[in-house]
Symmetry: C2
Subunit: 404 residues, 2 copies
């Protein structure tokens, strides 16, 4: 197996000022090509530390990938570290300089000394184009393979990697494709899934991981043998059929949208405690406009009564966080949007606003489908963010189930 | 300085299936206590690899922190690795077993063999309570200090860390508090900020990092000397006053809410391409109900005309993505919510739907404040997610500026 070391570079990463999302992205792509991710380390903007890490990785990794530290500022040291670690001269690269100059001039920025410094690269390095930013990707030959360097801004990194670097890796390394399958389940505890997996006669070459995230359980399968993978898939889905909702990159929102579009149905949401999160999730999916009409984020009671026409006495007698309010919210929604499926959420996300009777985490979710209204009551655990996330996911789950 | 090694444990991390957010959270807390984050490594669920990493870290780190691998499933190996690495017996911990049993029975789950395995911990370890999950935190003594283990689910990890482990660290290590200040700027390129910083006579003990994220620039300052920090802060704010918007944990949405509440103003949003993202961001802030009334997510043209009363001929002649539509959206919003500040966003987030005349990334943002309507035109770069994020941040920026 080809080994890979991934280094995310930047003091801000080791101080926890920003979260490294690049490494997970790269690890995922490269694992899928059958590459073993040997290490993922975060490194400071410190020349010696970067050089040491690169030299250490050179001994066991055919592929080294760095992200970050290619910008124009004083703390961007990755290019220099690559040159030093692998004994290349470090000099202004004319192609890179031209790229930076033309990219900046198209934005109306005049070139400065710091931008010229950004064009300094290891002599003779391979270049990878960046159509969306000033920092080109580059690679230098190492003992066993190559060290690739990518910009740190996630969408620039993805662009450079996907548009040329990925093909270069496929063409220059002997890779054995791994088959990979993620099965997603909702509405059951991790230990139940674990029980089922333990009792499967799992083929030796199938690797299996269980992941839990905000009410979703993901079983990740990997194997070089597609048939083995498929066999495990069939068993798992048959045993947990009611809770299975999708595979791969599918999310609750993408599955919901697919089902809506397949059935020619439309949806609208009325959100109180989730504050637009469900609408945001649905519209994360490209093409969501085919089924998603819109949302009323009814954060104040006034909006609940004025726009969604929740009767004043419902708000007075039962409160905004009640079964009755959730039911009236979907009724109002249906009248406004004339949607096939209407979903409402009202609850207490915290940290304040809870009481003994109505604790933080209490959420009512209303569903109107084919003129039938149903309201479900939940008590979610976690902080404000977790409660909002779980409430949104529960609403999406209910919507999927009802149109099944 | 006290050194710390952070290990995030889980195959899913090295396969890029989930993003490690725990390490950044811990690194941030510990850096603020003046602890040097020596390394952040992701580790597989492999007993030998975890043991090796822990033993290596023991040589240079007084504090070792692990996250993940404390669950009930077959791939949870952290407790066992801690016992092995630091030569402790590994046995069922009665307190942990009682905790797991009572936590599960309160959820109506009966205890299984896998849960009993979860109660196995290094003999004599210190325990840290977990009120929100089954996995207790624990610590064992190492050569130079302690190795702390935390659950991997972020809100459980935060809860255990903040409710008891943090105090334990403060009480058992000689720490020198670092003063830290993040200054946040909007609406200018990184190189301009870099220019200003290069020309400051920066005191030697002040560490300075520049971060760029979706239209925001964060200058992160750190020093053991509060006066030096303050001096640099004053210079930076005076030179970039128009673009400065907040410090520390303040976000565009929290600054906006603070200003709205201070001035007794209310806000509502009408969102097309951002699809609820602005409402979601505003309602991320606890207490947002004091100023945020709600949002109309007007994804379809039908909703734009029916609910927001954008005239049909505006949609016909200029299209939904137009200055005219954005202006009419805020007018409609004002009539519905009677808010002081109305913000509308309409644009093309992509990947499809762009044309030569109206490319992907084109966004109009409308603002109505004190009966004056203004519409700004933007062309954002990036993918769907980046465009939506930048559009939402631009809308929040405009709102902040207008009530200044």
């Amino acid at each position: 197996m080809i080994n890979c070391s991934i280094f995310a570079i930047g003091n801000e990463l080791l101080e926890g000022s920003i979260i490294d999302t690049n490494s997970a992205y790269l690890a995922r792509f490269l694992s899928n090509l059958g590459i073993n991710i040997k290490r993922v380390n975060l490194l400071k903007d410190n020349l010696n530390e970067i050089v040491d890490a690169l030299r250490l990785a050179e001994n066991d990794s055919e592929i080294i990938v760095t992200t970050g530290g290619l910008g124009p500022t004083f703390d961007d040291l990755t290019s220099c570290a690559c040159a030093e670690a692998f004994y290349y001269d470090f000099e202004v690269n004319e192609i890179a300089l031209n790229h930076i100059t033309s990219m900046l001039s198209s934005r109306g920025v005049t070139i400065k000394e710091s931008h010229k410094r950004q064009a300094m690269l290891p002599k003779g390095c391979l270049l990878f184009d960046n159509k969306v930013g000033t920092a080109l990707g580059f690679a230098v030959k190492t003992k066993k393979g190559f060290c690739f360097s990518l910009p740190g801004i996630p969408y620039e990194m993805k662009h450079v990697f996907e548009s040329s670097m990925l093909d270069f890796i496929k063409n220059n390394f002997k890779l054995e494709e791994v088959y990979r399958l993620d099965l997603k389940f909702k509405g059951l505890p991790e230990s139940d899934v674990d029980d089922v997996i333990r009792n499967i006669d799992m083929p030796d070459d199938v690797e299996c991981i269980i992941n839990v995230s905000k009410g979703e359980i993901i079983v990740r399968l990997r194997s070089f043998n597609l048939q083995h993978l498929d066999k495990v898939k069939q068993i798992l889905i048959s045993k947990l059929n009611d809770n299975f909702f999708g595979t791969g990159d599918e999310s609750l929102q993408s599955v919901l949208l697919r089902k809506l579009i397949e059935n020619g149905l439309t949806i609208a949401t009325a959100e109180s405690c989730t504050g637009g999160l469900i609408a945001k999730k649905i519209t994360d999916v490209p093409g969501s406009s085919s089924a998603f009409l819109g949302s009323i984020v009814a954060y104040s009671n006034d909006v609940k009564s004025k726009i969604l026409h929740v009767p004043e006495d419902v708000l007075l007698n039962y409160g905004a966080v009640s079964k009755e309010c959730a039911a009236n919210m979907v009724d109002g929604l249906k009248k406004i949007f004339n949607c096939d499926l209407a979903i409402s959420v009202t609850g207490i996300a915290g940290p304040d606003g809870g009481s003994e009777e109505k604790p933080v985490g209490l959420v009512y979710i209303g569903v109107l489908f084919k003129d039938a209204v149903e309201v479900k009551r939940y008590e979610f655990r976690g902080d404000r963010e977790a409660i909002r996330e779980r409430a949104a996911n529960a609403a999406l789950s209910i919507a999927i189930d009802i149109i099944k």
